[in-house]
């Protein structure tokens, strides 16, 4: 009886030690890959940060309005944001490689799914970033045009165009990710349709006389002295 217990214990412990002997090198390999990945990612982050600084990306971000957007969103400056994205992308890659070194089959399938998702996520982020920059530029152009044309609701017009552009960009980004696509499309259609319907009803019923007056004023002014600025030169 005692002999049997001892045998079982011995076998259990030897199996455990054998398991440890198999896992520890893999664990060490994973740790080394993760540490190396962290170092490489940190170096890449520093290099990208410096490179973007040299390319004066901060100034470009200021000019395009991206910097202002980032400030509003309480995010770091553009060059630091891009450098951080590079860091996390590289580090995440090394992390997956490290997990792969452990040899767990369940993690391997998870890694495959993540690897499929990552490019889509990056693409969606790029779409979102371009959409935000575009929205900002369009907002400024519309605001300046409406203010200088003497429209009474210049900010409203600019804000509406900004909202529409961002909405389209967000919908495109979510569609690109491909998660719950029907829900995203339906939600987008419902939200946009509701807004348009609300605007149409508001203009048609509530603001009809005001719109007519504004258009009449606008058309009258077009033929007036302001259409010829020669007296300013």
């Amino acid at each position: 009886m005692v002999e049997a217990i001892l045998t079982t214990l011995r076998e259990t412990w030897s199996g455990y030690v054998e398991g440890l002997r198999l896992v520890i090198p893999r664990l060490l390999a994973m740790v080394s890959v993760v540490v190396a990945g962290w170092v490489v990612a940190a170096l890449a982050r520093a290099a990208v940060n410096r490179g973007l600084g040299w390319l004066r990306v901060a100034r470009l971000a200021e000019r395009t309005g991206t910097a202002e957007l980032l400030r509003k969103a309480e995010l770091p400056p553009a060059e630091r944001l891009v450098a951080s994205a590079v860091f996390w992308l590289l580090f995440f890659g090394f992390l997956l490689a490290g997990l792969d070194a452990l040899g767990f089959h369940t993690l391997a399938s998870l890694r495959t799914e993540i690897l499929v998702l990552v490019p889509r996520l990056v693409g969606a982020l790029v779409i979102l970033a371009v959409g935000l920059v575009l929205a900002n530029v369009v907002w400024r152009v519309v605001l300046l045009a409406t203010v200088n044309a003497g429209w009474p609701s210049a900010r409203l017009a600019g804000g509406a165009v900004y909202f529409l552009t961002v909405t389209v960009a967000v919908a495109m980004a979510l569609d690109h990710v491909g998660l719950a696509r029907p829900i995203v499309l339906a939600a987008f259609a419902i939200v946009l349709g509701t807004v348009m319907l609300a605007v149409a009803i508001a203009l048609g019923i509530g603001l009809g006389p005001l719109v007519r007056r504004l258009v009449e004023e606008r058309l009258t002014r077009r033929g007036g002295p302001e259409s010829d600025g020669s007296s300013h030169l």
Partner: protein
Amino acid sequence: MTTILSDELLSELMAVGQVDVLVGLPTLNHSDSVAPVVRAAHVAFNRELARERTALVNVDGGSTDGTPDIVRDASIVDRETLVASQSLRTRHRISAPYHGVPGKAAALRTVFAAADLLQARAVVVLDPEIASVTPESVAALARPALAGAADFVSPAYARHPLDGALVTQVVRPLFRAAYGLALREPLAGEFGCSGPFAARCLEESAWETDDLRLAIDLWISGMAAGEARRVAEISLGPRRLTPRPRPGVAALVPQVLDALFTCLRLQEARWTSRSEAITVARLGAPLGPPDLGGSVDVTGYTTLFRDGLAALGEMLERALQPPTLAALRAAAAPGQAVDIPDDLWGGALRELAAAHRHATVSRDHLVRVAVPLYLGRVASFAAEVAGLDPRAAEERLDALCRNFERSRSELVALWTAPAR
């Protein structure tokens, strides 16, 4: 130079030989206004400049309304003029398209190249939109250069204090502060200059840049500040433009500001390093009483200023310094008349110029942001001079220029400072 002139134009010019006075007429769809200008030049050739060898070169930017044909066919109808003094020399009239990027800069470059080739002693450039041009004014622009009395001759017009507010409130004072050249019309499209001055302008590399396209008139005036040995201004009486549809103030202000700031950028080495003001000889009869027409209608400007300042605050914050913006906001406070004094206006313009130079905001947006500020200043100035007689108002305009001149060091400091 031969690459500037087309083969066709070159052969026509070679047939002309040397001239004393070359009149350049850049045109682009000016069929409605060019004939009187051509006639004025020809009457001047026959009557005022009868002893000089003269030529008129029309450089056309590709008119589709038959402008070159009108220039070629324009006949002198003033018989009396011809009888009174007949031409002593052959008159030449050349009309040719120009090479390169469309725009007045390319046209002027062609005129200067033609003047250089013909060894003209004096060059007169006419604006086909100025309806008030006379044979006397053409000759008046040519004579100082012919006599060796001036290398650059700028026109001066008797104008209502509120006529040409973009010139009087923006271009004239800022140009004077930067270049030290007190010209009344630095933006004028018509001027006279000597052959050597035209040749010196041709040597500049700026012709190759696209920036010069809109800033050419100011750039030429800026060149006078450094390259002309003597600068003169000649009074040409009242100024009338040919009636034709023109852009409104919301489009004009950005155009003019962009031209002014671009010109300052192109010539920054020239004006930031100057130490003294340049003397301008005043020629001709003293300016008469200003023309009462052409005043700016400032109705509604106050509202546009207030609304614009409120809506564009975010962009203005990046273009102007906080004290300037705060002062402008105080001036826009409701319940009181808009008052933008000279110091505040000068500070705002200097900061806008520096913001344009450093591109702290998109340049295209920056010059549009300035529209409500300009309207506010015009409204403020109009209210200030409403009760003044024209002479006092004129003195007030001169005081504005002097104010800008006193603050020249601030302009240079802002301009040369590193970007914010």
